[in-house]
């Protein structure tokens, strides 16, 4: 097998949690608030259905093909040619997604802290560190996540606690002013983030013990829901209807913190949270992109292509948007459908086809005819 490292289910959960949360806590409150208004705290709960769907699909597919990732089993399920085509599209999607995430990081740091630094330097230094982590393999990434995630979580809780003196819980009213629809509309964007839970499909084959994978994946989804709901509530309590006017509401909220004129400038803590979280997120995305490519061309080792890939992702990050407004527009309008297509519809199609043809890992030789039911779709 291409990856010799093995991780535990807990390590998988610790890797996936920041992969969803890192960008979500900063960008989502504003985007959700734009449509859901004062019901924005409900949106993550609706959107979590997408997270459960992604986990369900990843685990079900993994049950059928325990030692394979989507790149490998798509070839088994729909035949070599179609499988390769799906794999290539998936790799392009992953690379683009990684580039967009890198750009989100670059725009955030440039917009808030390092105004005069060229974007290429900010992006380049981040992708270089991530490439080093990825080159170390999944175990190294899991261990670095074990170091970062607890620190990031504690710091985040500290920021939220320090915001308590400034909150106005009345901002949440009137609940359901225009019915349930605004919160559902706000949920579409959050659903895109929840669909990223499908990244576990690339980690399940490398688990030491797969028995508790479903349980821990669900715990992770719940942890993400709680984090998103709390974040949205806190920004809503502080800014009310103003939330959508900021790009990074949590950041702006942290600027408000001033306790006894001594504890101030907490935005640097938010920055630390973000950098720690996004490091894990970009590492995971880069890792699955590199791994997918290595499996797609059937390499014996993925390590030689990590740095070239990191370079390409860096260029893609630079290329993926003109400015932060364009990036936000993409995340708001296109990303939900984009993610739905690749992280839900495509896996559903593969799972239905595999089930219809009764394919499992042992009869890998049976890849002659592609089934007519490939086009069939199934909702949750």
């Amino acid at each position: 097998m291409i990856e010799n490292g093995r991780i535990s289910v807990l390590q998988m959960a610790i890797l996936v949690y920041p992969t969803i949360i890192a960008t979500a806590i900063l960008l989502l409150p504003a985007i959700t608030g734009d449509q859901a208004k004062q019901d924005m705290w409900l949106s993550p709960i609706w959107a979590s259905a997408a997270g459960f769907l992604a986990v369900f699909l990843a685990i079900r597919l993994n049950n059928r093909f325990p030692d394979m990732t989507i790149i490998q089993y798509s070839e088994v399920i729909v035949g070599k040619f179609l499988g390769k085509a799906i794999g290539l599209l998936f790799i392009l999607f992953l690379a683009h997604n990684c580039g967009v995430t890198l750009r989100e990081y670059g725009e955030f740091v440039k917009g808030n802290f390092l105004e005069d630094t060229p974007l290429a330097v900010i992006i380049g230094s981040m992708i270089f560190i991530c490439a080093l982590a990825v080159r170390g393999g999944i175990e190294v990434m899991a261990r670095s996540a074990q170091v970062f995630v607890p620190v990031v979580t504690v710091l985040f809780i500290v920021v939220l606690l320090l915001l308590i003196p400034d909150i106005t819980p009345g901002n949440v009213q009137p609940v359901f002013k225009d019915g349930i629809m605004p919160s559902l509309k706000g949920a579409t964007v959050a659903a895109g983030w929840f669909l990223e839970f499908f990244v576990i499909a690339f980690m399940l084959p490398f688990l030491r013990n797969r028995k508790k994978s479903a349980k821990w994946s669900i715990i992770t989804v719940v942890a993400v829901i709680i984090t998103m709901v709390v974040t949205n509530l806190v920004t809503l309590f502080i800014f009310g209807a103003l939330t959508p006017t900021f790009t990074y509401p949590v950041m702006e909220a942290a600027r408000y913190i001033s306790i006894a004129e001594f504890i101030q400038h907490m935005e640097s803590v938010v920055m630390a949270i973000w950098v720690g979280g996004i490091f894990i997120k970009i590492s995971v995305l880069l890792y699955i992109t590199v791994l997918s490519t290595a499996q797609w061309v059937r390499l014996s080792d993925y390590r030689p292509i990590v740095f070239p890939y990191a370079f390409i992702i860096g260029v893609l990050g630079h290329w993926s948007a003109e400015n932060v407004q364009e990036l936000e527009k993409f995340l708001k309008e296109t990303f939900p459908i984009y993610a739905l297509l690749f992280l839900a519809l495509l896996p559903t199609m593969l799972l239905v086809t595999a089930a219809a043809r009764g394919l499992r890992s042992q009869n890998t030789d049976n890849r002659t005819s592609s089934d007519a039911s490939a086009g069939k779709d199934r909702s949750k």
């Binding site: 683009h96 290595a294 061309v297 080792d301 030689p304 740095f307 630079h318 290329w319």
Partner: protein, 76 residues
């Protein structure tokens, strides 16, 4: 200015190659080929983007694609 950017990009690509090439050996033909394609492709893309910075990116392409398909499906 553009020349300097291109030279810097070339330096990065050469450094990557110098660092990673020795980790492959004669038998790893496929690995070497993939490495060359990815590194060369990345370098070309970077150079093209330095010369034409306003080239439409993948994000615009995806947005355009979904918009056209959406428009086609709703009959607009």
């Amino acid at each position: 200015m553009k020349i300097i950017s291109i030279i810097l990009t070339a330096v990065v690509v050469i450094l990557i190659t110098l660092y990673e090439w020795p980790s492959t050996n004669e038998d790893m033909k496929k690995e070497r080929r993939t490495f060359i394609v990815l590194t060369g492709g990345g370098f070309l893309l970077a150079v093209v983007l330095i010369i034409f910075p306003n080239l439409s990116g993948p994000t615009e392409f995806v947005s355009w694609l979904f918009k056209s398909v959406g428009g086609w499906m709703t009959g607009e």
